[in-house]
Structure formats: structure tokens, C-alpha cells
């Protein structure tokens, strides 16, 4: 009968209104949630009259989301590189600050001038010895810090690989849950929200693109073409090293790269997983920090070579270690790696190791104290530092202090490069994040919906009231 049909229609209308209110309430409750896709209810007119609840649509702008994920990866990567280079700059020294390697070399030069002004003064020779020890300590500390940063990069890679594996498994299980939920006719939106959050976490490590595989399933691929998840998640492996020394590199086999499903991913250890914090950690560990270490070792080699020549110190035999040594022995051009951790003051001038301070003035191999006012060796040591000469690893002719300051400015310049890339990435990321956020929940809109729902509910209730009155009337006959 049409009266009972009207009742049914009104009931369905109230049902839809209350479902809409539920959607509105869910949207408003999640208005501040990251990764929440705004829901909306699709209503369609019912086959037998009235209205039927359609599906719940979850709004996500896939294009902006994909671009924002790539930008996330780039941003995280450059942030890591900038902070690493900042710490290298701290260790090595910045322009204009005291305590840098080049300022320690200058302090040695000044101490040589002081000692030459009064070569008989043992206290000036002691202060020269202190400045030289400061220099070797500075190189040692800087090199240790660089290797420590490599250990941190290595640890970061290991943590990220673990997180990546776990997250891929989570996405895989969420895929199954969503498929099951759709099959049983439930609303998978909140599972999709969770999956979006997990994939956001993955794309900081390695930027990924989602590929729809139907029935709510997705596959994950990197923009460079590596498959992370397609039905089955890929399993990544990595061997962490807790102690890293300058001679350990990927090429030498001392450090490990990533394995995918048990096989090594590529010769550079990273393969196609570039673009995120994982790529940045590899860049730091295998390129930037190795370059920094090589620069420090080149400075150490240059210093040792300058003092090792018999033209500078006539008491030295050819090939004998001079004022600065490679842990006590002479300089070996084939063994430069890690030299900055081995550079040391010659025992012949160090009272703590059985030497005498006056050997600074008289020569490394001097057997008896020479003339107390003879400043010729001290002067020639100073000229040796100042002389523009080419080092084995670097053919440009420069003085020791300027070689060190060029190295420091190189580190600073690299940090500025990454800074510039970071600010570009940040601007791009901000723009995309803003566009993504624009597609989120708008509480004003939801309030308006609520007004309409209220109105619709009230109207349907009125219809039921009227139908009830009609039926009452009927009963009164």
C-alpha cells in the first residue's frame, strides 16, 4: 500500500540522514588527523522507492599525494646531508673561527717565529711543542669524528632497512584486510587511512608510487623502477658495522650494501632505492665522509712530507722521519688512508717520550745541544710550512695553511650546496603539503552538511508523523 510505502520511504530517508550524520561526525572528529581522507556518502534512489545508502567515498588527490611523497623523500634526504655536513664543519673548523685545522697550523707558525726570536728559551720551545701537539690532536679528533659520523650513517641505514621491512609487511597485511573488508561489504576507509600513513613513512625512506591493483589492493614501486611490494613484499637485508675505520669502504668489502631477497642489490650498495633518507645515508657514508677523510689525510701527508726533507733539517738522513711522523715511522706515500689518525710528534723532540725540546732547534738527530742562539733550523722549519708545494695527492702548489683552509672551505661549500637543495626541496614540499591539506576536512562545509541533515531528518520525521495521523484517521472510521 502506498501509505506503508511512504512510511518505508520516510524510514529510509531517516536512515540515510543518520548515516550522513555519522559520516559528518567522523569527518569533524578527524579534522586534524594527518593521512585522513575526507569521507562522503553517496546516496542513490532505491529500486523499490525511497533512498538507499550508496558507498562511502574516500577523497584522496592521488597526484598531489604521489608528488608530496617524492618531495618528502627528497626533503628528508637533504636534511640528513645538511646536518651531516654541519657536523663535519664543526669537527674540521669553520671560516673565521679559532680551533680549525688551518688556525692550528697558523699557531704552529707563530710559535716557530716566537721560538726563533729567542732560541735559547726552553719555555718557547715547550710552547712550540704544545702547538704541534694541538695540531696533531686536531687532525686526530676531526678524523675520529668523521668516522663516527660514518658509523651513525651506517646505523641509520640499518634502522631504516628494518623499518622498511616492517612497514612493507604492514602494508601487505593491510592490503589483505582491505580486500576482505570490501568482499564482506564493510567500509574499508579507515584501513585505507592507516595504509596511507604507513606508506608515508616508507616514502621518507625511499620515495614510492602507489599502483592500484584492483579490489583495494595496491602495489608499491619506486619512481626509478624498483618494485617494493606487488602481491609479496620484498625483503631487504643489511649488515651493520659498529666500528668503522678509514680503510673500510664498500669497494674494499669492509662495509656492506643492501641485499634484496638475499641477493646484493647493486655494486654501489643502494641500486634504485635513491631519493630518500636511505640514499642520503649512503651518500654520506660512501661519498661525502670518505672525501672529508681523504682531505684530512692529504693535509696530514703534506705536513709530514714538508718536515721530512734533509734540506729542511740537515741532521736527517734521506727517508728518515722528520718532526712529524706516521706513528713513529717515516712517510709512506702508499699508506695515506687514515694518516690523520696516525700523525704524531717525533719522539726525539717530545720529553714525554724520551726526547729533548732543544732538538727543535738543533735537529732531530742532534746528539748534543747546539748553539743556544742558533735560529736557523727554526726559521727553515717555518719556511718549510709556508712554502707553496704540491702534495702527492694534490698537484696545486700551496702553503700548508692555505691547503687546510681550502679543504675547510670545500666542506663549507658542499654544505651550502646541500643547504640550497634543502631550501628548494622545502619550498616544493610546502607547496605540495599545502595542496594536499586543502583537500582535507573543512569544518565549515561539514557544519553546512549537518544543517542539511538536520533539516532532512526533521522533514522525514514530519512525514512519518503525518502518515501516522493518516493511519489513525483510518482507524477511527
Amino acid at each position: 500500500m502506498s501509505i506503508s510505502n511512504s512510511l518505508n520511504n520516510a524510514m529510509s530517508g531517516m536512515n540515510v540522514a543518520s548515516r550522513m550524520a555519522e559520516i559528518v561526525s567522523s569527518n569533524v572528529a578527524n579534522s586534524l588527523t594527518e593521512g585522513y581522507g575526507r569521507r562522503s556518502l553517496g546516496a542513490q534512489s532505491g529500486g523499490l522507492g525511497g533512498v538507499e545508502v550508496g558507498s562511502v567515498t574516500r577523497f584522496v588527490d592521488r597526484g598531489v599525494l604521489a608528488d608530496r611523497r617524492v618531495a618528502d623523500g627528497r626533503l628528508g634526504g637533504f636534511e640528513f646531508l645538511v646536518s651531516t655536513m654541519n657536523r663535519v664543519e664543526d669537527a674540521v673548523g669553520r671560516a673565521g673561527e679559532s680551533g680549525s685545522i688551518s688556525s692550528r697550523i697558523v699557531a704552529v707558525e707563530a710559535a716557530l717565529i716566537d721560538a726563533a726570536a729567542d732560541p735559547s728559551s726552553v719555555s718557547r720551545l715547550a710552547s712550540l711543542s704544545d702547538r704541534m701537539t694541538d695540531l696533531t690532536d686536531g687532525l686526530y679528533t676531526a678524523s675520529k669524528e668523521v668516522q663516527q659520523l660514518r658509523v651513525e650513517a651506517d646505523t641509520s641505514i640499518s634502522d631504516q632497512i628494518q623499518l622498511l621491512n616492517k612497514s612493507l609487511e604492514q602494508v601487505d597485511s593491510l592490503n589483505d584486510d582491505i580486500q576482505r573488508s570490501i568482499a564482506t561489504g564493510n567500509d574499508p576507509s579507515s584501513l585505507m587511512d592507516q595504509r596511507q600513513v604507513v606508506i608515508d613513512k616508507i616514502s621518507e625512506i625511499v620515495p614510492v608510487r602507489e599502483i592500484d591493483r584492483g579490489r583495494g589492493q595496491i602495489a608499491l614501486m619506486t619512481p626509478t623502477g624498483a618494485t617494493l611490494l606487488d602481491g609479496q613484499p620484498a625483503v631487504f637485508g643489511f649488515v651493520q658495522n659498529s666500528v668503522i675505520t678509514p680503510d673500510m669502504t664498500l669497494a674494499s668489502g669492509g662495509l656492506s650494501g643492501i641485499t634484496i631477497n638475499g641477493a646484493p642489490i647493486a655494486t654501489d650498495g643502494l641500486g634504485k632505492l635513491t631519493g630518500g633518507t636511505l640514499g642520503a645515508a649512503f651518500q654520506a657514508r660512501d661519498v661525502e665522509l670518505v672525501n672529508a677523510q681523504e682531505g684530512l689525510d692529504a693535509i696530514a701527508a703534506d705536513l709530514i712530507e714538508r718536515f721530512q726533507s734533509p734540506t729542511v733539517d740537515p741532521t736527517l738522513a734521506a727517508g728518515q722521519a722528520g718532526l712529524l711522523t706516521d706513528s713513529g715511522t717515516a712517510f709512506d706515500p702508499l699508506n695515506i688512508t687514515g694518516l690523520s689518525q696516525r700523525i704524531a710528534l717525533n719522539a726525539a723532540v717530545d720529553p714525554a717520550q724520551g726526547g729533548v725540546l732543544t732538538n727543535f732547534r738543533d735537529g732531530i738527530n742532534a746528539t748534543a745541544p747546539g748553539s743556544s742562539g742558533d735560529s736557523s733550523l727554526l726559521q727553515s722549519l717555518r719556511f718549510a710550512l709556508d712554502e707553496p708545494s704540491a702534495s702527492g695527492t694534490d698537484p696545486t702548489q700551496q702553503s700548508a695553511a692555505s691547503r687546510a683552509s681550502n679543504f675547510e672551505s670545500g666542506i663549507g661549500a658542499q654544505r651550502l650546496n646541500y643547504d640550497a637543495e634543502l631550501s628548494f626541496s622545502t619550498a616544493r614540499w610546502e607547496g605540495l603539503k599545502e595542496a594536499e591539506a586543502a583537500g582535507g576536512v573543512d569544518t565549515d562545509y561539514e557544519m553546512q552538511m549537518l544543517l542539511r541533515v538536520e533539516q532532512s531528518f526533521a522533514a522525514n520525521a514530519r512525514v512519518i508523523q503525518t502518515v501516522n495521523t493518516l493511519m489513525q484517521r483510518l482507524m477511527e472510521i
Binding site: A117, S120, G373, S405, T443, M447
Partner: protein, 336 residues
């Protein structure tokens, strides 16, 4: 459905980013204004970093040279003072010895001889001057006394000339004692270093060679002449009065001749002093100009920074006002 709504989060996100960016800029400007230096020097200098490092190095070395040049000037000044006293002693001895004539008596000769002895001792102690515990005329040996004591030298001289009776013989013996290479003066008298001269750097590329030691011929001639005067009055030697008179007159002549070479030595030291002074002036001028250049590289102009600080402050206040206004602009407020 077409996009007819804009998410709330967009507004919050934009406000947050803008406010934090402005606050970061504000704190950077405050730091620059209070310290007077640019905060991120690496970014400010860019590829000019090695220039700053080399300016710093030059300033440090100039400061060190400035200090050591003071010490070198003091050394040269001490040398000049000592040589002044040597010269005044020489002229005192000359005056005393010139009073000896053919008519002089034993007493006159003895008087002249005692003046010669006291001036000999004064010259030896003058050449043994020390500055800050370091000997000045000993060459590269700063510890030992350059000359043996006057008594030791005179005793050895007396021993060398015992038995000689004529003036020319004694003069010849003194010549051998003082001037022969490897002779008694070089073995017993001069105890300093013979290897080289004192060298002191006065600037990064300039060295002064202080080529004056107690064994310089000017000093040897002066001492030789004074010794002749002393030996002439020595009562322990068997000499007749004629010989003694001749010896002392010869000593006076020799001392007059030594004046020229002493003046030459003083002139050499004066030239070195001028060299050091000039280097010192140059160092001071370079320190000033490099200091100015360094300031230009690292300092932040306070006026410009203050103006930017005002602008950023106003910007931040505007952002705060806007944030407050926009947060009240929501439909939910009007549905209360």
C-alpha cells in the same frame, strides 16, 4: 563531486610555517645585531672563505712579528749602549796614554798603565753585557760569557811576553796573541760561538743578520792597544823606561786608530736598528689594513640589520593578528 571545500588543515599549516619562518629570521637578525658579526659566515662568504682564512693568518703572524721585533730592537739597543761605553773607555784610555811623553816619570807611566788596566776591564765587562740573562756579543751562543775575565787574559798576556825586552817584539807578540787564527785570543779569550751570526726574522720574508760578535777586529784592536798600555806599566817585567814610554805612546796611537773601526761597527748596528724599526712600522700598517679588510668581510652592518629587524618584527605582529582573526572565522562559531 567537484571540489567545493578547502580543508582546515591548509590554513593551520600555512600559518604555522609562516610564523616559524619569520621567528627564525627574527632570531638570526637579533643575534647579528648584538654580536655585530654575520651569523652564518660560510653562507655570507661563499667562495671567499680562503681569503678570510689567509687574512686571519696574516694578522696572527704580524702580531707575533710585532712582539719579536720589540725583542730584537731591545737587543740591538743594548749592543749600541755597550759599544758606547767601549768607545768612551777607549777615549779615556787614549787621553791618559797621550799624557805620556819623553819627559814622563815612572809615576806617570804607572798612572797611565792603571787607567789602561781599568779601561781594559771596563771594555771586557761591557762586551760581556747580558740582556735578560742572554749574552749579547757571543754570536749564536747565548749562554756562555763571550770574553774570559780581564784578569785571565792579562795574566796569559804577561806570561806570553815575559822575557821580551824591546817594544817591537812585545807588539809583535801581542799581534800574534790577538790576531792569529787559532791564536790565544780565539782559544782562551773569546768563549762565544764562532759558527755564524745571530739572525732574527723581522717579517715574513725579511731577516736581519746581526753580524757583530766580541771577536770583531775593532774590539780586538782596542783591547790589544789597551793591553800594550797595561804591560808597559807592569813592574814585574824588566823593561827600561824608554821602552815603556814608547810602548805607551804606541798604544795611544793605536787607540786613536781604533776609533774609526769602532765608529764603523756602531754604524752597522745603527743600520740594523733602522731596518728593524722600518719593519716594525710596516708591520703595524699592515696589521691595520688587514684588520679593516677582515672587518669588511665578517661584520654585519648594524643599521641595515636594525632596519630589517623592524620590518620582520612588524611582519610577525601582523601574522599573529591574522592568525587570531582567522581562527574566529568559522561557521561553528556562528552556530553557537
Amino acid at each position: 563531486m567537484a571540489m567545493i571545500s578547502t580543508g582546515d588543515m591548509r590554513q593551520y599549516f600555512m600559518n604555522q610555517r609562516n610564523t616559524s619562518a619569520t621567528k627564525t629570521e627574527l632570531s638570526t637578525l637579533v643575534q647579528e645585531l648584538t654580536s655585530g658579526r654575520v651569523s652564518d659566515l660560510t653562507a655570507h662568504l661563499g667562495s671567499d672563505q680562503p681569503r678570510l682564512a689567509s687574512l686571519d693568518r696574516k694578522l696572527e703572524l704580524l702580531a707575533t712579528f710585532s712582539q719579536s721585533n720589540l725583542a730584537t730592537s731591545q737587543l740591538l739597543g743594548t749592543m749600541q749602549t755597550a759599544m758606547g761605553s767601549v768607545d768612551s773607555n777607549r777615549s779615556r784610555a787614549t787621553d791618559a796614554l797621550l799624557t805620556v811623553t819623553q819627559a814622563s816619570t815612572e809615576v806617570n807611566i804607572a798612572q797611565a798603565g792603571s787607567v789602561a788596566q781599568s779601561t781594559f776591564e771596563a771594555v771586557v765587562s761591557g762586551l760581556n753585557t747580558r740582556l735578560g740573562g742572554r749574552s749579547v756579543f757571543g754570536g749564536n751562543d747565548l749562554d756562555a760569557r763571550p770574553l774570559a775575565s780581564a784578569d785571565v787574559m792579562l795574566a796569559d798576556l804577561k806570561a806570553t811576553v815575559t822575557g821580551l825586552t824591546t817594544g817591537p817584539d812585545i807588539s809583535a807578540a801581542l799581534d800574534v796573541w790577538f790576531d792569529a787564527p787559532g791564536g790565544a785570543f780565539e782559544t782562551i779569550g773569546y768563549q762565544g760561538d764562532t759558527g755564524g751570526f745571530l739572525e732574527r726574522s723581522v717579517s715574513a720574508d725579511e731577516v736581519v743578520n746581526i753580524d757583530l760578535r766580541a771577536d770583531d777586529p775593532a774590539f780586538r784592536n782596542t783591547l790589544k792597544a789597551m793591553a800594550l798600555g797595561v804591560l808597559a806599566a807592569d813592574t814585574g817585567m824588566a823593561l827600561d823606561i824608554e821602552t815603556r814610554r814608547d810602548m805607551q805612546q804606541q798604544a795611544a796611537t793605536a787607540l786613536l786608530g781604533a776609533a774609526g773601526s769602532l765608529a764603523g761597527v756602531q754604524g752597522r748596528v745603527g743600520f740594523l736598528e733602522a731596518q728593524v724599526d722600518e719593519a716594525q712600522t710596516r708591520t703595524a700598517a699592515e696589521e691595520t689594513s688587514f684588520g679593516i679588510a677582515r672587518n669588511l668581510l665578517v661584520s654585519a652592518d648594524p643599521y641595515e640589520t636594525a632596519v630589517r629587524l623592524e620590518a620582520v618584527q612588524t611582519q610577525l605582529e601582523t601574522q599573529f593578528a591574522l592568525t587570531a582573526r582567522l581562527s574566529r572565522l568559522s561557521l561553528a562559531e556562528y552556530l553557537r
